[in-house]
Symmetry: C3
Subunit: 356 residues, 3 copies
Amino acid sequence: MTTLVRNAWYVAAWSSEIDDKLRRFEILGEPVLLYRRTDGEIAALHDRCPHRLLPLSKGKRIGDEVQCGYHGLRFGPDGKCTRVPGQDKIPPSAFVDAYPVEERNDIVWIWMGDADRADPATIFTLPQFDDPSWHAHQGGALHIRSNYLNVAENLVDPAHVSFVHPTTLGNSASENVPVHVATEGEAIVAWRWIRDAEPIGFFKAFGGFTGNVDRWHYYYLYTPCTAVIDFGSAPAEMQIPEEERDRGNRVFALHFMTPVNENYTIDRWMHLRNTAIETEEASERIDQMFQIAFGEDKDILEAVHAEENRPQRRRPIRIAIDRGPMVYRKRVAEMLERERTHDVSAAGNGAYVYHD
Amino acid sequence: MTTLVRNAWYVAAWSSEIDDKLRRFEILGEPVLLYRRTDGEIAALHDRCPHRLLPLSKGKRIGDEVQCGYHGLRFGPDGKCTRVPGQDKIPPSAFVDAYPVEERNDIVWIWMGDADRADPATIFTLPQFDDPSWHAHQGGALHIRSNYLNVAENLVDPAHVSFVHPTTLGNSASENVPVHVATEGEAIVAWRWIRDAEPIGFFKAFGGFTGNVDRWHYYYLYTPCTAVIDFGSAPAEMQIPEEERDRGNRVFALHFMTPVNENYTIDRWMHLRNTAIETEEASERIDQMFQIAFGEDKDILEAVHAEENRPQRRRPIRIAIDRGPMVYRKRVAEMLERERTHDVSAAGNGAYVYHD
Amino acid sequence: MTTLVRNAWYVAAWSSEIDDKLRRFEILGEPVLLYRRTDGEIAALHDRCPHRLLPLSKGKRIGDEVQCGYHGLRFGPDGKCTRVPGQDKIPPSAFVDAYPVEERNDIVWIWMGDADRADPATIFTLPQFDDPSWHAHQGGALHIRSNYLNVAENLVDPAHVSFVHPTTLGNSASENVPVHVATEGEAIVAWRWIRDAEPIGFFKAFGGFTGNVDRWHYYYLYTPCTAVIDFGSAPAEMQIPEEERDRGNRVFALHFMTPVNENYTIDRWMHLRNTAIETEEASERIDQMFQIAFGEDKDILEAVHAEENRPQRRRPIRIAIDRGPMVYRKRVAEMLERERTHDVSAAGNGAYVYHD
């Protein structure tokens, strides 16, 4: 049974990944062709010629159109066939699916589900993207051989930080600090404050703290595939209240998970920060620290995925720290159930499934 | 459901590939042992000892017999067991299947189906093999990770040449020239003439033409796995009629496809030509050009095969240029249906299938 | 249907392979964590945290306990959970299976089946391990991509020696010497004497014989996975009776097969000998000869396994030399049937299988 939610906006790429070349991606198990039109807009087509199934990305651009590399059929950015060599008439079945695409803040979003439900107003954003006192910096893309549910769950799970990232994002001071979990509309939020403790490696390097700090982690997980980790520190003597976190060193680490298929996930990560906003050196140092930390996650998540795919004799146990992940998995299960029910009724309305 | 036709002659190897060594091949999913007997004839045995299943190709020759490398059972070129170490009596079940083999014009043909239907008179040949005004030259073997149907279909499909081989076998002059399709007995023929056009790269290099030419392509496809591409050019001012193609530079490119299994095909190719028949340099230049062109096909065919093996939501569309391929696929489907029906009745007559 | 017998002692490792590090093994398809406690005893745990399934071998030692590398759950060498970060109560389901382990003569034995049936008194041993006139030497570990039944069968099969090991353990003098087969309690024994013949390569190098010898091979196979090959030679003029083999050059080659899974077997081999017991050079020369010979077996056994996994049209035939292997396979089938029946009744008693 699929774990992949179709009716949602996913990050297909950073804007810088898409140019005039024909590039193939895999998203939700589907091959997708992305290229930038001459007017700068991005076209997204199912990457398979409807004739002999050659990926269109193996063809070539003719203006804003794509010409198949096998028999020369041409398709516009809307997926409609404009030419079939050897005949004058273009059959109505000669088209490829085109996917809604939106570009925001140098991020390319794609909608793989029912096109008529794609509402750009629901695309994730943050006011800080447009706030001049904040700096946004795109990091890298982590390729993880694991189902996306494991990756996402990890991002609403502050409890793993002390054990997986002991030298970068966490330290042993946090091991027994309780985690709060709540839902705020679309978001599941897990958070904790560690008061009056030694700063973690990250803020030692970045914030230049000399004494003890109050440290916070707020994990916001938006179903199915977007996470914001609001973390930061402030000198312990400031005794800042929870709602005044902007007074400290504050970083939003953003994770956009793209399920390539059931067994592979790309996690594109970036950050916004409210300090040292004019120096690229700070961006680089943050990237370096994230790269180490996310490599630690990747190692764990791939091992978990491999173990999930072996025969099981017992149900996994659930413990107190699992509240965030459990709410998340329940929400995804509900989304999938809605899509399953919807698909069944759609099929009853005449949809035709050729082969799966 | 299998796509592999059993009752047909297939090219197992070029003659030069077979010597006194025990060599293992895979044909129609079956392991086959080929070796040359002391009298020069070729033996073809199922490459699996009936005792503990070791491939006989891992054993050794004892005269014209093969001795298994595990327990020393010996088999003659007819597949009958001649010795079982440790006992005097040879059980009747101690044999391996022997396949009919015929060697013609340095080509080794094998029959993998019902042995009593193997008629050497039906093996493909051309009168030009024995015509001293023609030269035959064996090329190479293209290994393609694709079902053979895609490979064969490509060989009765002139329409792909302009798009897949724009710099070698085709050019844009041919894009919109209509293709004729007909059947001539066993063969499906697709052909077209491109009159008074610039010569293609191939004949520029080989024919030494300076002005425009009349160019022809005749694709003959013999079900299931043999193709002849009769192509050539003549100066446009000659205005040669279709039936006098021998007056121009004429080449027969032969393709012998061997389905290794459902996902892998070997395409052994060679050519016959009526010009420059005494110089090996011409052979080498033709080989070089074919290698480039067939590498272009391989790239396309493997991508198509990979895409066919992904989940499908739509039926592929068919267009006007598909007539040749469609007739071909229909003929193969009929052959398979005959074999399926035949196999059922054979099984009813006592055949025993141990496991599949 | 599984071929893996669970209620048996298997060799998990040589003692030298296990130290204070967390090491992961796979035995009978299960992931197993082995490490040496501070008191020198060996702990064996199912290598999968019951919480999020991370292999415990990816965590770290905290004294004699193991801490999971994801969320810090801790388990004692008995598999019981001792700590769950973030909560005080430890749920009863928080445990991992611990396997009975016994260490004897520098060999680590493990019991993967029902723990209450694990009787250390049934572990294989030989009196010569404690006999000062004999020398024991641990060889290597042969990794074979084959089901263990093929590997074991090979070890009660003297008939293959002439064909698989013609230059090391056998020669053509033995090809037609009959093999005796009998059962002695737990063991299946196959043996033969080759009287007054040229010594084989092994004893030419090791025994220093100049004239003809009497040579014996006794293959003892203990179901499911232990084999002893008692082989040796004595000068033909001694005419030693069968029961006085200690008067000749006598070697016990021991094979401990560990089924990693249905398709992979580790064969740990060692030997005991009654001559040249004080020189390590003799051990090394024996190891070298065994390495060549067992490499020959590996090649055969992997080819047989690969061929067994291809479609079959016929049943394999059985011949006279198969008596030992046939008794062996029958005994294993009976053990599996007992376990299958037992498992069914156990399941009826409330056992719960989550997923397979």
